[in-house]
Assembly symmetry: C2
Homo-oligomer: 199 residues x 2
């Protein structure tokens, strides 16, 4: 048996992270286990644990991947637009579509982690809180530009708007994942439209 090349090692690590993200969307990051992932991927437990070393390192890598996928669906398609109201609306539309057609089997991993880790402590909590703060700051910054250029009224202020947008997304994720409510995406879009029309 020849040892794996660096490239094969990266591919294996990436496969493990992908599977971990899917599992975390259903069961949360805390329930991840090298043993279960090894069974899923038909690898040895040592082969799964090796690239990470600790469960915490795996959790951090899985959360990081989930944030990256979120960004690819929600932010990147609008990244080249000029900052302001239209980009904020585009990003929010992408956000609702991402929740409706979620790339993870158990719904948004970032949302799941934000609740799972809100009262725990340590590096995973810190990574989740940092990601959530950054996302609210991105939304606020976009709203700030729109307020300064007169595209949005200054009441509600930018952070208030980000807070309310986040609520619409959280309610949508719950309605889809927990309640199987097929009307929820339309409800979320109406809520978004009314919020932006009032702003």
């Amino acid at each position: 048996m020849t040892p794996p090349t660096a490239d094969q090692g990266r591919q294996t690590r990436s496969r493990i992270i992908g599977r971990a993200v899917d599992r975390a969307s259903i069961e949360g990051l805390e329930s991840l286990s090298f043993g279960e992932l090894a069974k899923d991927l038909r690898l040895s437990k040592a082969g799964v644990a090796g690239p990470f070393g600790s469960k915490e390192a795996l959790q951090l890598a899985a959360f990081d991947r989930a944030v990256q996928i979120f960004r690819e669906h929600v932010w990147d398609p609008a990244a080249d637009m000029p900052a302001g109201r239209r980009r904020l609306e585009a990003v929010c539309g992408n956000w609702l579509s991402y929740l409706e057609h979620c790339p993870f089997p158990g719904g948004c991993v970032v949302t799941t982690a934000s609740v799972e880790w809100d009262a725990r402590s340590g590096p995973v909590h810190d990574a989740v809180a940092t990601a959530q703060k950054r996302w609210l700051a991105v939304l606020s910054a976009e709203a700030d530009v729109a307020i300064r250029t007169g595209e949005l009224s200054p009441v509600p202020d930018a952070r208030q708007l980000a807070f309310e947008l986040n609520g619409i997304a959280m309610s949508l994720n719950q309605a889809i994942q927990l309640l199987g409510d097929s009307d929820a995406p339309n409800r979320a879009r109406r809520a978004l439209d009314r919020l932006m029309a009032a702003a």
Copy 2:
């Protein structure tokens, strides 16, 4: 040693459930373990498991208690008011206060469970989904009365209003628990006021 009386048995069961709810608010219902609860309460593991028989029965009892405490804080103080807009506003005010001064150390257990169990299956998922549906139905029914009596405009409709109220509460719970954002209660109240003023 004399065997415990039925009354002592009920008290022990109730203490176990109380501790389980506090732990679930931090770690979720899935992380509950008879062994950890026994250590917390200085009881034998068999003494903690006995009144429940299975972890699932404990999870269901803990969730039931959490719903009861939610109702005591949010619904009961307004229960004697006439149905309609004023009671809906009172209940929503109680809801935000409950989240701000949460009786559980890790935030609202109902919210935590609604995310933790959204993609799992079985009796605990079903109990969580049923409780969440009932709560949204209570809010909708109250809004329906207010719409029929002309106290609220029919747009947004009652279910839309319930969806958006839920989002404000979820965003508040996250801002307090995950982000430690002390401005969030005021933000949530402003969001509630604007939503009700527009309705």
